[in-house]
Symmetry: C2
Subunit: 449 residues, 2 copies
C-alpha cells in the first residue's frame, strides 16, 4: 500500500476525541492552578527563593493530580540579581524616570551621568561608524507595534537582545531603550540581553513607554541633557534550579514520548501570571484532564515545567542535552508560552503524509474555533532545543493582542487573565497531546525515520 | 419692573459668544501648555523643588500670554516628604506588595510586622467596638466603582481620609487600603488623609488594586499572615509655596472679579497630567484666548494656579482668607480639576432669576454639547473656600469615566490626555468666563446682595 508511516486508523477515533474535548472543557482547573501559583509563590526569578518554592509547588501539584512519575532534573544557571535601579534627568528639567535593568545587565557601580544619543532603531545604531557614541548613553526609541501574533516583538526584542552589545562596541557607557511593550503605562518591560562574543557588557535598562516619550520630549528641548543612571544588579556566581517533570507512563514502553509544557520561572517584578503561569496551568490541567479519564495512552506523556526560560532557555537546553538519547523517541513537543488568550490556530512542523495524518486532530479542534494554519514562527521557546535535535512540534497559536501590554512587567498579575478563556486552551492541549500519545503516528518526514 | 438684579441685556450678546467659542476652539494652546508643564517640570508635590519650578513656569507663561498683572501670594504649608515605602508578606508565601504611603502619613521607623485584619468598608471599621484591632494592621478592601461623574470616589475617598484615624482609635498600628482607583494596574493611588482631633497618627498606605486582591487571596489561605511595612515618610517643618495669579483687568474698577483656575501642585509619583496639569492648561488657555481677542471685559478676570490643593486645599484656603475683603466682589468661581475628558454639563449655585439670566450662556454652550444640569456636588475643590464665603460658582462637568484609573498614581502622565478633547473645554471656560466678566449679571440670590 502506498501509504507513509501513518494511517488514519493509527490515531484515536473521533468519538474519543470528542469525549476528551468535552471533559477538558468542564470546570476550570487551569484557573485554579494559576491562581494558586501566582498567589502562593508570586515572583519566581530563576535561582531565587521563589523559584525554589515554585518547584515544590509544581512537584506537589503533579503528584496530587495523579501523574505516574514526578521528578526534577537539575539545571545550572548564572545567578543574576536585581537590587535597585534609578534614572534621573539632571539640570533644569530634573525628574526621575521609571526604568528596569535588562536581564544580565551589570550595575553602574554608583551613579553615572552622561549625555544621551537618541536613535530610532537597531539599524540606526548598527550604522554608526564614527565615535559619536563614545562616552554617551545610547537611547533606542522604537515603539513596538501591536499584533495578534506578537509580530512586533521580533523588532523590539532584537533591540533588547542586541542593542547593549552594539552600543558597547561603539564606546557607549550605557544603553537604554523604549520598552518592548505595547502598553502606555509606567511599567518598564525587562527581558534578557545577549552578549556578543568579545564585547564588554555595559549597564542596560528599559524605560517605560511614557518615560521614553518624556525623555524624547526632553531631548528635543535640551539635546545635551545629562541622564544619570544608578543601577545595582549583577551576577553572583552560579546556582542550581530544576526542570520539574510529570509523566503519564505509556502502555507500550519505548513507543514514544509526547512533551507538553510551559516555563515555571518568571521575571522578578510581576507574579508571572500571563508569562507563564497561564502556560503552566493550561498544560498541567490538560494532562490532568487526560489522567482523570483513566485511560492509559500507548506512548508516554511528559508535562515539563521548564526552568530558567527567561534567562536564556537554560532549562530547555539542559533537558535536550541531558535527554539526548531520548530525543528520537520524542514524537512531538508543544509549549504554552504566549499568555492566556484563546487559541485560534494550530501550526506544526509536519509536512506531507505526516500532515495528512493530523486531519482527525484538526477536525477535533474545529469546534474550539481552532484551524490549521501553514507556516509560523515555530514552537514555544522551550521546544526550540528539541526542535533543533529533530523533534517535531505543534504550535497552538494564542491571541496575543494584549500580551505585550504586561509582558515582563510588574503588572503581569492574575487579574490580567480572563478565567473563562482557559478551558478552551486546556481542551486544545488535551486533544493534541492525546492524539499523538494514543497513536502510532509519526510526524518526522519519512527520510528522518 | 418686576425683574431681579439681572436682565438679559446685561450680558454679552449671542454673536460675541459665538465668536469667542470659535476662536477658543482654534489651535490647541491647552495641549501645548500641559505638554510644557508636565515635560519641563514633571512632578510638583507642594513644597518640593518641582513645585517651585512650576510656579516659575506659571508666572512666565502668564506674562508671555499677556495677562495685565501677574503675582504670587504666599501659602504656608507643612512640608511632607516621601522617601521609601515597602510592604512584604512574611512566611511561606513571602513576596512584596506595591504600596504608596498616604499623604500626611508618618513613617514606621523601620520595618514593623503584624497580623492583618481585613474589613469590607469604613462602616465595618467604625462598627468595631472591641479590642480586636489592637496591635494589628487594618486592611480596608473596598473596590471603587466606575462612574462618569466619579461618584465612587466619595466612598473610596472617605476610607482614605477617615480610615487611618478610625483604625488608630481602635489600637491598630497601621492602616492599609485598596486604592481609591478604578484601574487594574499595579499602581497604588496615594492621596491625603484627615487627622481626627485627639487621635494619634499611624502609618497608612494604599495597595494597588492587584496587590489588594493578592493580599485578600493570601489572607483566605493564611488568616494569621504577617505583613511587614517599612515606610519612611513624614513631616519636615513648614515651608512656603505660592498661589500664582494672572489678572485681566476689567474696564470698570470695583465691578467684580471672575475667578477661573486649577491647581498647580501634583502628587509626587506622576507628572500630574490629568491631575491637574490639564486643568491649568485649559483655564490658562481659556483666559489667553480671551486676551487674544483684544477686548477688555467690564469686570476683572483672575486665572489662579492654586497651590497645595492635594495636601488639603491650602492654597485655596489662603486665597479666600487673604482676599477676604474682596470675596463679595467675586462674582463667580470655577475650577477645572477632573482630568482632561470633555465637558457634558454645566451646574451652578445660581437659582431663580439669577439662573434665568444664564440662559444665553447655556445657549452658547449648547453647540459644544454642554447642557445645564440641576444639582451637583458643587464646584471644583479650590472654589470651596470661596463658596463657603458666599461666592457663586459654576461647575463644568467633565466626563471622568477613566479619571480614577490614573488619579494620584505614577501613571498620571501626558499620554493619558487626548489632545483633541481639550479645545472644547477651553471654549467652555472662555464662554463662561466672558459671560460673567463682560456683564452686570449677579448670581447671588437677591437677599445676599
Amino acid at each position: 500500500m502506498a501509504i507513509g508511516a501513518n494511517s488514519a486508523v493509527a490515531g484515536p477515533d473521533a468519538d474519543t476525541l470528542a469525549q476528551i474535548r468535552e471533559h477538558a472543557l468542564s470546570g476550570n482547573l487551569a484557573f485554579e492552578l494559576v491562581e494558586s501559583l501566582t498567589t502562593e509563590v508570586g515572583p519566581r526569578l530563576a535561582g531565587s527563593e521563589g523559584d525554589a518554592r515554585a518547584q515544590d509547588w509544581a512537584e506537589a501539584r503533579m503528584k496530587s493530580l495523579g501523574f505516574d512519575k514526578v521528578w526534577r532534573e537539575p539545571v545550572e544557571i548564572p545567578h543574576w540579581k536585581r537590587r535597585h535601579e534609578r534614572a534621573t534627568v539632571l539640570g533644569e528639567y530634573a525628574q526621575s524616570l521609571h526604568i528596569s535593568a535588562l536581564g544580565h545587565s551589570i550595575g553602574t557601580g554608583g551613579p553615572i551621568a552622561a549625555e544621551v544619543v537618541e536613535l530610532a532603531d537597531l539599524a540606526a545604531l548598527k550604522a554608526i561608524e564614527d565615535d559619536r557614541l563614545n562616552g554617551k548613553i545610547v537611547f533606542v526609541n522604537h515603539r513596538m507595534t501591536r499584533a495578534i501574533n506578537g509580530a512586533g516583538y521580533s523588532i523590539a526584542g532584537d533591540i533588547r537582545s542586541q542593542g547593549p552589545s552594539e552600543a558597547a562596541k561603539r564606546g557607549a557607557i550605557a544603553f537604554v531603550m523604549r520598552s518592548a511593550g505595547t502598553d502606555s503605562h509606567r511599567f518598564p518591560h525587562t527581558g534578557n540581553t545577549k552578549r556578543l562574543e568579545g564585547v564588554h557588557v555595559i549597564p542596560s535598562a528599559a524605560l517605560s513607554n511614557p518615560d521614553a516619550e518624556q525623555l524624547h520630549r526632553l531631548l528635543k528641548r535640551k539635546p545635551d541633557l545629562q541622564l544619570q543612571l544608578d543601577i545595582d544588579v549583577g551576577f553572583d556566581g552560579t546556582t542550581t534550579t530544576h526542570n520539574v517533570i510529570g509523566e503519564i507512563s505509556g502502555r507500550v514502553p519505548g513507543s514514544g514520548i509526547v512533551v507538553l509544557g510551559a516555563h515555571l520561572d518568571s521575571w522578578d517584578n510581576g507574579t508571572g501570571a500571563v508569562d507563564d503561569g497561564a502556560g503552566i496551568a493550561i498544560t498541567m490541567a490538560a494532562a490532568a484532564k487526560l489522567i482523570e479519564r483513566g485511560q492509559r495512552p500507548r506512548r508516554s506523556i511528559r508535562m515539563i515545567a521548564f526552568a530558567a526560560e527567561e534567562v536564556g532557555l537554560l532549562g530547555a537546553k539542559a533537558y535536550a542535552k541531558d535527554n539526548a538519547q531520548l530525543m528520537e523517541r520524542h514524537v512531538v513537543g508543544m509549549e504554552s508560552d504566549f499568555g492566556a488568550g484563546s487559541i485560534y490556530a494550530i501550526q506544526t512542523s509536519a509536512r506531507g503524509t505526516a500532515l495528512d495524518a493530523l486531519q482527525p486532530l484538526f477536525d477535533a479542534l474545529a469546534p474550539l474555533d481552532i484551524a490549521f494554519a501553514e507556516g509560523g514562527y515555530g514552537p514555544g521557546p522551550d521546544i526550540l532545543p528539541m526542535r533543533d535535535d529533530g523533534v517535531p512540534w505543534f504550535a497552538l497559536k494564542q491571541n496575543g493582542i494584549d500580551y505585550f501590554d504586561v509582558h515582563h512587567t510588574a503588572d503581569d498579575t492574575l487579574d490580567k487573565i480572563v478565567p473563562q478563556a482557559l478551558p478552551q486552551q486546556v481542551a486544545a492541549y488535551a486533544l493534541a497531546t492525546w492524539f499523538m500519545a494514543d497513536s502510532q503516528i509519526e510526524l518526522r518526514a519519512p527520510a528522518d525515520l
